[in-house]
Amino acid sequence: MNKTVTLHQSTGLAALPAPVRRLLGIGVKNVVVPLLGIVLFLGAWSMAARNIDTSLGQFPGPATVAQQFGSLVSEHRAEREKAEAFYQRQEERNAERLALDPTYEAKIRPYTGKETFFDQIRTSLVTVMCGFALAAVIAIPFGIAIGLSETLYTAVNPVIQVLKPISPLAWLPMVTMVVSALYVSADPVVPKSFLNSMITVTLCCLWPMLINTAVGVASISQDLVNVSRVLSLPPLTHVRRIVLPAAVPAIFTGMRLSIGIAWMVLIAAEMLAQNPGLGKFVWDEFQNGSSDSLGRILTAAIVIGFIGFLLDRGMLTIQRFVSWDRNSAAR
């Protein structure tokens, strides 16, 4: 703060009325300082990039990434046009065939062309949301149960502690084999690859939610529990009126941790298993080894980071919204 004050004085801002000065101070702190950080980072990045020569050419700097992002957008547009042409051709072919073969059950098949970068982003987001939602549906009720019962907690804690640190890379082969064995259907509703990624995500982001919920529930203030006892609330009402509101901050802390893990795990799982999504995009580009590949990988990495950031912020916003104690939401 001292620094900003001296800055203001030296530039003659001291003459301004105090509220304006304070607003300016906040502006400097919230806008100018982060911008400065970003500019410095971009500068350092492009300096470093210029000095790294890989076998695929120079390491991409910010300009290359921006340009690659542009080309990914135009590729997406071109692919959409191809898709439209595909649907049109299909209708013509169906009509032709119906003329020759009236018994034919014409149907419109989904576009068979490649998935663009933006399709992959959507796939990844859907997968991560489904995996995360499944984990939440399992972890929160179970976490409340073990938080309420110390005996249950003591019983399952060792198992949870051992399962928690297992890497997604270890879960993936098991999930793949189990899904292949159990999910047998001639006309599957969702593809196996989606299930594999989703279940791997679920298995990895279950634990922080479970533990945080349990801890949150277990550490409710004794006063609140006593209130519930005095009112002799039935168990479900006790959970709904006393436990949940008190444990919400802890539950959401667990959920925020989980969604971060879920996103990281998903990208790794997609890369390893070649399941559709951003991870596959990165791996495909790595395999392509063209002079654009590094730029595209870096673009994808930045998008991955940005989406991770948005997921985290989104969770924080929800947490603030549902939490009775606005200050408890950690930054």
Partner: protein
């Protein structure tokens, strides 16, 4: 055999169509509609997957009423498993894969091929350090450039030196039953370097028994990176991964497979026998689409190749830079940086009956499997013939080709004469070591190699 029978009756609307196919135009409907219209095909990022990409991009699959999704696979094992478990309907395969799967080496599954995908297209690359050590042993031609083909005898002293220093001489190939494995072994053995034996009956499937050069599996796209990391000193792989090494300046291709065996058969299109039986019309139709794609690739003396290069360089296909792919696809090959030579037949997709699944090609792969111990015991000549007939299906190819000719989409002269063709090429001798290969006498051929298992040998 019954399957073919049933199939012929169903597909061709009576045997008449087969016999008069050459004269009477057959409307598409007479072939029978495809039973399965939505298909997924797998491939590995190599330029010789081109017929699949072209059949898609040029609408040949759609002309047959097939809606095909094309998916790049991580490696050959994943690809083969995909075809076996039905995740993929068909795939770009190593010629050895359907054969090995059918005889149960590695995985057991009856895979067939109605379509050979190409001839040639591979190269052997060594690291810069190995090339520098090799170069003094390579004879020079008049202009001072190395005389080709370069024999592995120039590599032998380098390997001996590495071995003397206690460093194992590691080389990469793409799969135990890959063309690349057999070609690398052929080249090494022809130059006096022992590439090692397999002994599956003893559980040894590393292929390194008695080896002077240790061969191991690396997926094609990772070859240059693995070479650069120093894990291997050389590799045999398809394009664009040899030219990639030249571009990156990390290695030097020393020989193409064209020089090891002129016009050697390369990839095949593999489907399960079950698929062909269950979906006979679909099988013929996809074969037709692939034949048309191959014709397009070789039409007018490779006139369409530049366009093919642009298509293949798209990220969903091979994805390497267009100039790298063009290096080999357009009839030249760059050895040492700047040493670009004409190899017009480096990639052959259609001419020389490249797409016809010859039994003799299948038998050659089987002889190499026996030579290096993947087939652990002697088999009579008749066995080689039977396996070839079980896996290679020129009968399916003939139905597809004849229907194309009947529709005026192809010229009968572009195909072998189906009425006389027995599936065995005339004895071939254009190998780097000059040993003659006659597909009808596999055991005699196996016995003619100085290095390798012979009749009666068992490890």
């Amino acid at each position: 055999m019954e399957a073919i029978h049933v199939f012929m009756v169903r597909v061709v609307c009576g045997a008449a169509a087969l016999t008069v196919a050459l004269t009477a135009p057959v409307a598409a409907a007479e072939l029978g509609w495809p039973e399965k219209e939505e298909l997924t095909f797998g491939f590995i990022k190599l330029t010789d997957m081109a017929p699949i990409a072209i059949a898609y991009e040029k609408g040949y699959f759609e002309d047959e009423g097939l809606y095909v999704t094309i998916e790049a696979q991580a490696n050959w094992k994943v690809l083969l498993d995909g075809v076996i478990d039905g995740r993929l309907d068909g795939a770009h395969m190593l010629a050895g894969q359907p054969l090995a799967a059918t005889i149960g080496f590695g995985t057991q599954a009856h895979i067939i091929t109605p379509f050979s995908m190409d001839l040639n297209g591979n190269g052997i690359t060594v690291s810069n350090a190995v090339w520098d050590a090799m170069k003094p042993h390579v004879p020079k031609q008049a202009d001072g450039r190395p005389a080709h083909p370069i024999s592995a005898s120039a590599l032998k002293p380098v390997i001996d030196q590495y071995r003397a220093e206690g460093k194992p001489f590691n080389m990469g190939m793409v799969f135990p039953v890959s063309t690349h494995n057999y070609e690398l072994r052929y080249w090494l053995a022809a130059g006096g370097v022992h590439p090692g034996f397999y002994a599956p009956h003893k559980g040894d499937i590393s292929g390194q028994l008695e080896a002077e050069a240790l061969l191991s599996v690396t997926p094609p796209p990772q070859m240059p990176a693995t070479l650069e990391a120093g894990t291997i000193y050389g590799y045999c792989v398809g394009e664009p991964w040899n030219q990639q090494a030249v571009f990156k300046g990390i290695g030097v291709p020393v020989i193409t497979d064209y020089e090891i065996w002129k016009n050697n058969p390369e990839k095949v299109f593999g489907i399960t026998a079950e698929f062909a039986e269950k979906y006979p019309n679909t099988t013929i139709r996809l074969t037709r689409a692939l034949i048309r794609a191959a014709m397009w690739l070789d039409a007018n003396a490779n006139a369409n190749r530049p366009e093919a290069v642009q298509i293949l360089s798209q990220s969903q296909y091979v994805g390497a830079d267009a100039e790298v792919i063009a290096n080999s696809m357009t009839g030249t090959f760059e050895y040492e940086k700047g040493d670009r030579r004409e190899v017009p037949d480096f990639n052959v997709f259609f001419r020389y009956f490249a797409t016809y699944p010859y039994y003799s090609d299948a038998v050659w792969y089987l002889t190499q499997m026996r030579r290096w111990g993947q087939i652990d015991a002697d088999q009579p000549d008749s066995w080689y013939r039977e396996v070839a007939e079980k896996v290679y299906r020129p009968d399916l190819y003939a139905v597809a080709a004849k229907s194309l000719v009947a529709e005026g989409l192809a010229d009968a002269a572009d195909f072998p004469d189906f009425s006389t063709e027995d599936g065995y090429r005339a004895p071939q001798s254009e190998f780097i070591d000059g040993i003659e290969y006659d597909g009808t006498r596999p055991n005699a051929y196996i016995d003619s190699f100085p290095i390798g298992l012979k009749t009666g040998d068992r490890l």
